[in-house]
């Protein structure tokens, strides 16, 4: 397929979707500089007050940090576990593989609210306090189906013969995995990690049940939604987070282009 000639239709389709996806975000940005305290038109006065107030808002910043920690931890764990299960399913044959698949995919059909309460009960019974750890554990569980699907899809496309060759050359299996398999599926692992991160960062239903004294960003946001006058600060933070991510991505793209 010729990558330089891209049909107008497809290109338009992509950019229309991007437009639709970013439209509410543009709106949020507009509101974050609006002096009006509630989320509505008209635009009264442009102001950076909310952003200024944000930097004094320790709790808001801490909640964002908590979300980051949980997302990083759970996405890493989910990627590692997803890789392991992929290998188990595609490089081995044993009874109970169907059960393993079923288990790994089960989180998808358990409603978050149900899993949240179930885990709450479990942790209470085990006398484990709710904390960022408990949220992270839940997020790893729910991200696993996604990482599994993505990594397994990729791994399936590779000939196991390559691994056989490596082992014939004297590598033991862990080394084969490390030096041969992982590099092959690395792009999928990155994709899976990204997906898991996205799943965790804004996850709300589970976090609400399982947060202790350190709320994540969406939990904190939800709590602030009860009192409308705190809303603009939260919007300012959401916009900042997104601008920050966008900037990082653009910089990364610049670097990559320079390499090429």
């Amino acid at each position: 397929m010729n990558t330089s000639r891209s049909p107008i239709a497809l290109r338009t389709y992509y950019f229309v979707l991007i437009l639709l996806l970013y439209l509410p975000i543009a709106l949020l940005f507009l509101f974050s500089v609006n002096s009006n305290a509630s989320l509505s038109f008209p635009i009264n006065q442009l102001t950076l007050d909310w952003y200024r107030q944000l930097f004094d808002a320790d709790a808001v910043l801490r909640s964002a940090r908590n979300s980051l920690i949980v997302a990083l931890g759970s996405s890493l764990a989910a990627t590692v576990l997803g890789t392991m299960v992929s290998i188990l399913l595609l490089r081995y044959k044993f009874r109970g593989q169907s059960i393993l698949v079923g288990l790994a995919v089960l989180p998808l059909i358990v409603p978050y609210v149900v899993l949240g309460v179930a885990l709450l009960i479990l942790f209470s019974a085990l006398q484990i306090d709710r904390s960022l750890w408990t949220i992270g554990i839940a997020h790893t569980v729910v991200a696993l189906p996604y990482t599994l699907l993505i990594i397994a899809s990729r791994l399936a496309g590779f000939d196991p013969g390559i691994e056989e060759a490596a082992m014939d050359l004297g590598a033991d299996y862990p080394t084969t995995l490390r030096r041969v398999v992982v590099p092959m599926i690395f792009p999928a692992m990155v994709s899976a990690w990204l997906t898991a991160f996205t799943v965790s960062f804004d996850e709300f239903a589970l976090a609400l049940f399982l947060s202790g004294t350190q709320p994540t960003f969406p939990v904190y946001l939800f709590s602030q939604l009860r009192f409308a006058n705190r809303l603009p600060i939260m919007i300012a933070l959401a916009v900042l987070l997104m601008l920050g991510t966008l900037t990082l991505v653009f910089i990364a793209e610049r670097f990559r282009q320079r390499e090429v």
């Binding site: 439209l23 709106l27 899809s153």
Partner: protein
């Protein structure tokens, strides 16, 4: 796959020194346990156990007493659910709605994945991340912003009235089941694109050349080569969207109004508004069972290995 690899030291004693130490000289069978135990433990402890607890809870008569002391099991919860027809009807509607959302999301995501894989070129990763970034802003806030766009005094209505297209603002854009469906499709499209993308990426480009050589026009290349080979990814995407959507409750809360509730809302209400964990657990078990049946049916029809091969 059938030969048991010999130990490195047997074949190449000198190689053993280089490779062996790195991986403890383990062969495939031994490594199996290394790879098998962590995920198994994780799933057993944090998925199976909680669900079992949930199942046990569904046989609890009420919330009285210490939550973890033993109770006499009763099927009262299931009995009361069985006698409430509206719950079953809602489960059916939620499943059908989820089916529709899954289908539409996949159909609308396919061109996206196609574009990214075949026309993204070196920028594919960038375009992909651009697609995913909105999901790092708060879902709650994005939906609130959409509500402002769609509301009776929102941008869309104001524009349509200004242009003279309509006289009165459209109230049908928000606070009903349609709004829920549209919102969910909108939210799921980027996610649905991911498995399709992975599947499309795996297609050997040689096949297209071969098809062209055999005289296939681009349209046929698509329907005879691309589409079938990407089918596992499409299926994966469908299930990835369909199954969680059955239990969805946040979106109906935000844009569903009084009549857009789904089965997930009822479950959530019993936990967070009614403090009736036994009944909520029973409702969840029923939903789990229903979805399990659907998935098993699908597994019969489709060999799951096809998803990966």
């Amino acid at each position: 796959m059938t030969t048991t690899p010999s130990r490195p030291s047997d074949t190449f004693p000198q190689v053993h020194r280089i490779w062996g130490k790195a991986g403890w000289g383990l062969d495939r069978r031994a490594t199996f346990w290394l790879i098998c135990l962590p995920p198994l433990f994780w799933l057993a402890a944090f998925l199976v156990m909680p669900v079992l607890f949930m199942a046990l809870f569904s046989f609890r008569p009420d919330m009285r007493g210490d939550l973890f002391q033993s109770w006499t099991p009763t099927i009262n919860q299931y009995a009361s659910i069985a006698s409430t027809g509206s719950y079953w009807r809602l489960l059916g509607i939620s499943s059908l709605t989820a089916l529709g959302i899954g289908g539409m999301a996949v159909i609308l995501a396919y061109p996206l994945a196609y574009f990214l894989v075949f026309h993204g070129g070196s920028r594919t990763a960038f375009y992909l991340i651009l697609l995913l970034i909105p999901f790092w802003t708060s879902y709650l806030l994005r939906i609130m912003a959409w509500k402002i766009l769609l509301g009776t005094e929102g941008v869309i209505n104001s524009f349509l009235i200004y242009v003279g297209f309509i006289q009165e603002p459209l109230t049908a854009l928000l606070y009903n089941r349609t709004a829920v469906i549209l919102t969910l499709i909108y939210v799921w499209i980027p996610f649905a694109a991911l498995p399709i993308l992975a599947a499309l990426q795996r297609i050997d480009r040689v096949l297209f050349e071969a098809a062209a050589d055999l005289g296939a026009r681009p349209y046929h290349q698509f329907t005879r080569v691309t589409l079938p080979l990407s089918a596992p990814g499409v299926l994966a995407a469908f299930f990835m969207v369909f199954i969680p959507t059955v239990g969805e409750y946040v979106t109906p809360l935000l844009v569903g109004g009084s009549r857009g509730f789904l089965y997930g809302n009822i479950i959530q209400d019993f936990f967070t508004k009614a403090a009736n964990w036994p009944l909520g657990s029973a409702l969840s078990m029923i939903m789990l069972a229903a979805t399990l049946v659907l998935v098993l049916l699908a597994a019969r029809l489709i060999d799951w290995r096809q998803l990966f091969e």
